[in-house]
């Protein structure tokens, strides 16, 4: 198992290298560079702009910039400098990371804690009114664009619930305050719409998967045997069927990460969340290239690690699976 993990991790390195190179190329396709905003401004004469370009290293061709950036990461763990915020990308990134964790973790809990029981209910009550209703709601969640759902929820919050502060993860007063019960309450109040917006888009898939798996397993011989020997229905379902139906879902864990990232990205733009995803968007708009690249690499590592983690967990819960 250990050798498998090491091998998989080593495979990631060339993949990440290719992704970083291609992504760097893609963001160079965006017309102009960071200095665009200054070129519009008559206060900056061409000499100053040239000096800026030189300071930022933007006078060099992109291949050279990529090489230097990569070299600094590999030799010094230095991910570059933010042109816009005048600070190292690493510290900028670390400032935004807590918000990403504070949003993603609850979304995960919300999605899994809701879709598993609903999937089980739908499978055990196949074609009932509840089954149809949940399936329909799941599809609606899948079909509402994140941004539209966010807009509608914000409207409801402001107009019908009279919420004064919408967007962000904390009210103004709590942003830099230390954690307290009041701050936690404030956090929860800002969190729930965000969790619903991001979570609903991935629930439908998980829910239907769980329902399908459980239905397959409920038709198996050993479930019939368990029923025949007179076990309580509750034990048949939870001890025999559900345990086996959950295993394949673990691969969904890795697959749901892209949804989470894209959901948080779009929602962060509209609801003004101070997370890493928002940092990506702002940097992309300003063409603050090292910030864009660093966050992109973070997303890629998260995706690859998520898949690896899912494979490891699968082997761990299912003794039939061996990676040798």
């Amino acid at each position: 198992m250990l050798s498998y993990i090491i091998r998989r991790t080593l495979y990631m390195l060339p993949t990440l290298l290719i992704i970083s190179f291609v992504s760097f190329g893609i963001i160079q396709l965006i017309p102009g560079d960071f200095l665009n905003q200054y070129r519009m401004n008559p206060r900056f004469d061409p000499e100053t702009l040239q000096q800026f370009a030189k300071n930022f290293g933007l006078d060099k061709p992109w291949i050279v910039r990529y090489g230097i950036w990569m070299k600094n990461i590999l030799t010094r763990g230095d991910f570059g400098y933010s042109f816009e915020m005048h600070q190292p990308v690493t510290s900028l990134f670390l400032q935004r990371l807590p918000a990403t964790v504070l949003i993603s973790f609850p979304v995960f809990l919300f999605v899994w804690l809701l879709s598993l029981p609903i999937g089980i209910y739908s499978a055990t009550h196949q074609y009932s009114l509840g089954d149809h209703a949940f399936t329909f709601l799941g599809f609606v969640g899948l079909s509402i664009p994140n941004f539209f759902f966010a807009l509608v929820l914000m409207y409801v919050l402001v107009v019908y619930l009279g919420s004064g502060s919408v967007g962000g993860l904390f009210s103004q007063a709590y942003i830099s305050a230390p954690w307290s019960l009041a701050k936690f309450k404030d956090y929860l109040w800002h969190l729930w719409p965000v969790v619903i917006v991001i979570g609903t888009s991935s629930m439908a898939g998980l829910l239907r998967y769980m329902r399908g798996n459980l239905l397959d397993i409920l038709g198996m011989q050993y479930v019939k045997t368990a029923r025949a020997k007179g076990l309580a229905e509750r034990i048949v379902i939870y001890k025999h069927a559900v345990r086996n139906a959950v295993n394949p879902l673990i691969t969904m864990f890795g697959m749901s990460l892209p949804d989470l990232i894209s959901g948080s990205l779009i929602t962060a733009i509209i609801m003004d969340l101070p997370n890493v995803e928002r940092l990506y968007w702002d940097a992309l708009m300003k063409q603050d290239e090292y910030v864009v690249m660093t966050v992109l690499m973070f997303f890629s590592v998260a995706l690859l690690m998520g898949n690896l983690l899912a494979d490891i967990m699968l082997a761990w819960v299912d003794p039939r699976i061996r990676y040798d």
Binding site: I19, F147, I266, L304
Partner: protein, 364 residues
């Protein structure tokens, strides 16, 4: 039902599909949306670009059915724009002294019907001084109803178009990978893995902002199509490879090979027809992704540009709460996105059940 034996595969699929009621609802909804879009010039009372400078952000026009307590032909009142002297907010007040009946087949702004002929006949409309904005008007005083119908052209066509390009790549590469196996397969599979490790939406946004600003709306549209197909093929290639790996071991493939058929002939004549149904389902299920993608990108201002329009771009005017708190009708086009995506999802789901010969769902 003595004829049951001779039913073709196609007929069986159609029969299973019809039993899937919600799938049929999805299919009908798609057809209605296509109809609304195709006849958007005729169904909308104005042209998509006509802006009434004196009517910015007007609420949906109320249609009245009763005049003085008795039933009457539907009519509207002209509205006047007033400014609140204290808050400086604008509001519209109906002037009940004039009535404008809604007329059918009226002459209005002229439009081209799909390049076939030019006409100025609209299904309905009202005469001056009235205006009819079923979904309200936007910042520039344009009719949101007309623009929503018109925006459907982009949203409903981007899915199928990005499929075509993505499918050609997917079939070609996935087919090669599955049919030949061995080293080619390993190489292609590795490439696909790398492609799938890209964080999709962040890369979309980067690619969309790379589309040159001076491009026309049509060019931008094809640019988006290219982006979607470029990112869509790897998933499809995987599925096709899996199917081909299984099919190439089948007796009929071996028989074809033994009788001297070329690789190309085997792929095109023997293998592809066997996976057509999977392709149709895959196509239907990937359309929602393209619609959502276009809507998101245009909403963020990176896609289709004014005065052209799409459902996502229409929502761009409502991109922060302060901009739509008093004008919630700006959100109406979003409902069309939800309905369209939902309809395609239902349709695809039903098709998947229908083409799968092992499914027993529709059969009991």
């Amino acid at each position: 039902m003595t004829k049951e034996r001779s039913l073709s595969q196609g007929k069986l699929i159609w029969r299973r599909f019809k039993r899937h009621r919600i799938g049929a609802v999805g299919g009908i909804t798609v057809l209605i949306l296509v109809f609304l879009t195709v006849f958007s010039g005729f169904l909308g009372p104005y042209s998509y670009a006509t802006s009434f400078k004196r009517y910015p952000l007007a609420p949906p026009t109320k249609i009245h059915f009763f005049a003085g307590g008795s039933l009457s032909w539907p009519f509207v009142y002209p509205s006047e724009r007033l400014r609140d002297p204290v808050t400086n907010r604008q509001r519209y007040v109906e002037n009940t002294s004039i009535r404008c009946p809604i007329r059918l087949f009226v002459r209005g702004d002229s439009y081209h019907f799909w390049g076939l002929f030019q006409t100025d006949v609209h299904l309905f409309g009202v005469e001056e001084p009235c205006k009819i904005f079923l979904f309200g008007s936007d910042k520039a005083g344009r009719d949101i109803f007309t623009r929503t119908l018109f925006g459907g052209i982009i949203d409903l066509s981007i899915g199928p178009l990005s499929l075509v390009a993505g499918f050609i790549l997917g079939i070609l590469i996935g087919g090669l990978s599955g049919y030949y196996g061995g080293k080619i397969d390993i190489l292609i599979q590795r490439t696909i893995e790398v492609f799938q490790s890209f964080p999709a939406v962040p890369i979309w946004l980067a690619l969309a902002s790379a589309l040159p600003k001076q491009w026309s709306s049509t060019m931008t549209f094809y640019g988006l199509v290219m982006i979607f197909s470029l990112l869509g093929w790897p998933g499809l290639a995987r599925v096709i490879r899996g199917q081909f790996l299984a099919l190439r071991e089948m007796e009929f493939t071996i028989a074809a090979k033994a009788s001297g058929a070329s690789d190309l002939r085997i792929i095109v004549r023997h293998l592809l027809p066997n996976i057509t149904s999977y392709l149709i389902v895959g196509a239907t299920l990937s359309i929602p992704g393209a619609i959502l993608g276009e809507a998101t990108i245009s909403f963020l201002g990176l896609g289709i540009k004014e005065p052209m329009t799409s459902w996502g771009l229409l929502l761009n005017q409502a991109n922060s709460i302060s901009k739509f708190r008093d004008t919630p009708w700006l959100l109406i086009p979003g409902l069309f996105i939800v309905v369209a995506v939902l309809a395609f999802n239902f349709l695809g789901d039903a098709l998947r059940d229908a083409v799968d010969p092992y499914s027993v769902k529709g059969m009991h």
